[in-house]
Amino acid sequence: MIRPIAILVGLGFSFVVLLAFVTGAYTWATEEAQHTAEHEFHLAPHSPEGGFAHDGPLGTWDVAQLQRGYQVYKEVCAACHSLKYVAFRDLAGLGYDEGQIKAEAASYQVPGIDPNTGEATFRPGLPTDYFPSPYPNAVAAAAANNNAVPPDLSLMTKARHHGPEYVYSLLTGFGPIPAELKQEFPDFTTPTGLHFNRYFPNLNLAMAPPLTADGQVTYAEGNPEPTIRQMAADVAAFLTWTAEPKLVERRQTGWPVLGFLIFATILAFLAKKQVWSSMTPGRKDD
């Protein structure tokens, strides 16, 4: 009894899904394929020339680059973007010592409570404080930015496919609408207040180009020229660190663990071979 029922159920489901296939295939064959500017002109993110120091299983931080990237964040991005999961104490990971971190934290004003009156006020930051947001709340952020809330940057490079490359490409990808696009899609426009960028999924980004001129940030002696590309690569590296401060520690833990496991597996193989040696004359392993 169970088999005839099963056969009927099986034929039923297949019939219904094949009906869906036939109607879907008909629509697909008769309708024009979707043809959009986003689809044709969106570009996949790419690395800066030479890649990042943290690329690959042996990659490690370029501490000087992280410090430059932090400077770019502080002087450019921080005007609109928060970094709420990063605390000043975390800056030890960028090679700063305790005194420098204290001074850095104290240069920020963070929300606090007046110990005498209990009123909300601001006080100098401590190493245990987190980077304060440039806006008191999301409504204020939206109001100041044409209704587009600037996202928090702490996890940005993990929240996008190929995150570090995406940040780098986006920051260097602003420009005029190419002539081929205009030719193929005459109706395509960038609405007022948005900015054309081929690395953004719908090609129109609310953020204005933040890095507009070489030398916008002044790097200390001994650092590379602060070109737009250099600044973009530096801040992309910095945001890789903010998203995954334990990245290098993780890989450095991984190598000895992997070495141990491979060694243990070889021993386990030899043990298995020895245990089975008496059992396997002409054994055919299925």
């Binding site: 099963a6 159920v9 297949s14 869906a20 296939f21 496919h161 890989r251 089975w276 299925d286």
Partner: protein, 430 residues
């Protein structure tokens, strides 16, 4: 249980003797996974995955209990708590990445374990109960994994929960009240997050309980084997320890090496970047996809796009659940007296050239956006999936001439079996 020639446990010292008399726990372990459990001598590496699944269950429980110490199921702080684990908790990143990738590896080994069962028809008598309990474990795993993915409260957590609970909304009449009742609201929020956390903590222990039943049920007929020929005598078996503890130890090593590669070098490869964006009910992600281990069933859900008497969405939901629930009936659908796919030429063709490529297509299409040609591909694959289990499997044995089976496991291994000639069961193989 098991075979008359199973070695009996003899306590080696007075302490163990005392324990054996008062609470024979060592005896239980000895008979379950020790020298007291005779196992067919010809098991190949596909028989490693039960032990490996057990390992990953334990890993998930251990890492999960530690993570729960640092987590809070509150929609306002849950996302930040996960970041706290990643940044501030000592070795927190190791715990969390082990747990996330451990879930993936648990599913990898379970899928291999299940497909081993399909190929060698491990579900057939006398092991029906082992199979039924196994399907129960798989369903519990899926529920646990789904709820666990909601806990980090990222965009995919929120929207995945919304889509999956939305499936219940497709049920006529009671659907929508049921969905609201399950979520504790109209959309996933604190109520849903808290109950998912509670159940996510509970269900692994339920799984552990059903695993004990699964192993218990297995030990009554004993393990199956690649020939599908039942054990005939002592020469067909070896004690589980040391033979299979050694073999499983090597298998575990290989899987742990792969696990370490993912964990330390590609920990987010199997995840979705959108889950590093905090849940936002006002912003729908471009493509909502579940975790990779749900992709085949998600593809089946989305393959039904045509309203035939019932709404397409309801067809999709019914098909998705049927796609797994029908596994419960396999022991009675497949009527071939031969177990192993090795000796079933026609079945074997359907398995390698039908089921396996179709599963690959469903895996791929479930993770792809709901666009052509992926929808058409998953429709063809879904049609075959149902035909394979519900039509081909019940009928194929009528048209199939099985290849000759070996007399015994010993003959399959050694090329000859003395007792096949002498008609006795006493000669152990050397």
């Amino acid at each position: 249980m098991s075979f008359p020639w199973a070695k009996e446990y003899t306590p080696a010292n007075p302490v163990m003797k005392f324990l054996d008399e008062k609470l024979p726990l060592p005896r239980l372990v000895y008979n379950a996974v020790g020298a007291g459990y005779p196992v067919p001598r010809n098991l190949n590496y596909m028989w490693n995955f039960g032990v490996l699944a057990g390992f990953f269950l334990v890993l998930q429980i251990v890492t999960g209990v530690v993570l729960a110490m640092h987590y809070a199921a509150d929609a306002t702080v849950a996302f930040g708590k996960v970041e706290h684990i990643m940044r501030d908790v000592n070795w927190g990143w190791l715990m969390r990445y082990s747990h996330a990738n451990g879930a993936s590896f648990f599913f990898i080994v379970i899928y291999l374990h299940i497909f081993r069962g399909f190929y060698y028809s491990s579900y057939k008598a006398p092991r029906e109960m082992v199979w039924l309990l196994g399907v129960v474990i798989f369903l519990l795993m899926m529920a646990t994994a789904f709820m666990g993915y909601v806990l980090p409260w990222g965009q995919m957590s929120f929207w995945g929960a919304k889509v999956i609970t939305g499936l219940f909304g497709a049920i006529p009449v009671v659907g929508e009240p049921l969905q609201v009742w399950l979520l504790g609201g109209f959309a996933p929020d604190d109520a849903a997050l808290n109950r998912f956390f509670s159940l996510h903590f509970l269900l692994p222990f339920v799984i552990a309980g059903v695993v004990i039943l699964h192993i218990w049920a297995l030990h009554i007929p004993g393990s199956s084997n690649p020939t599908g020929v039942e054990v005939k005598g002592e020469s067909d078996t070896v004690p589980f320890h040391p033979y299979y503890t050694a073999k499983d130890g090597f298998g575990l090593g290989v899987v742990l090496v792969l696990f370490a590669v993912m964990l330390f070098f590609l920990p987010n490869y199997l995840g979705h970047p959108d889950n590093y964006i905090e849940a936002n009910p006002l912003s729908t992600p471009a493509h909502i996809v579940p975790e990779w281990y749900f992709w085949p069933f998600y593809a089946i859900l989305r393959a039904f796009t045509f309203d035939f008497i019932l709404p397409a969405k309801l067809w999709g939901v019914l098909a998705m659940f049927a796609a797994i629930l029908m596994w419960f009936f396999l022991p009675w659908l497949d009527r071939s007296p031969v177990r192993s796919g090795h000796y079933r030429p026609l079945f074997r063709k359907f398995f390698w050239f039908g089921l396996i490529p179709v599963m690959a297509v469903l895996f791929y299409c479930g993770g792809a956006p709901a666009e052509e040609p992926y929808v058409m591909l998953s429709q063809i694959a879904t049609a075959y999936y149902f035909l394979h289990f519900l039509v081909i499997l019940p009928l194929v044995s009528s048209f199939e001439k099985p290849e000759p089976l070996p007399y015994s496991i010993t003959e399959a291994v050694l090329g000859s079996d003395k007792k096949a000639v002498l008609g006795e069961n006493t000669t152990p193989a050397t």
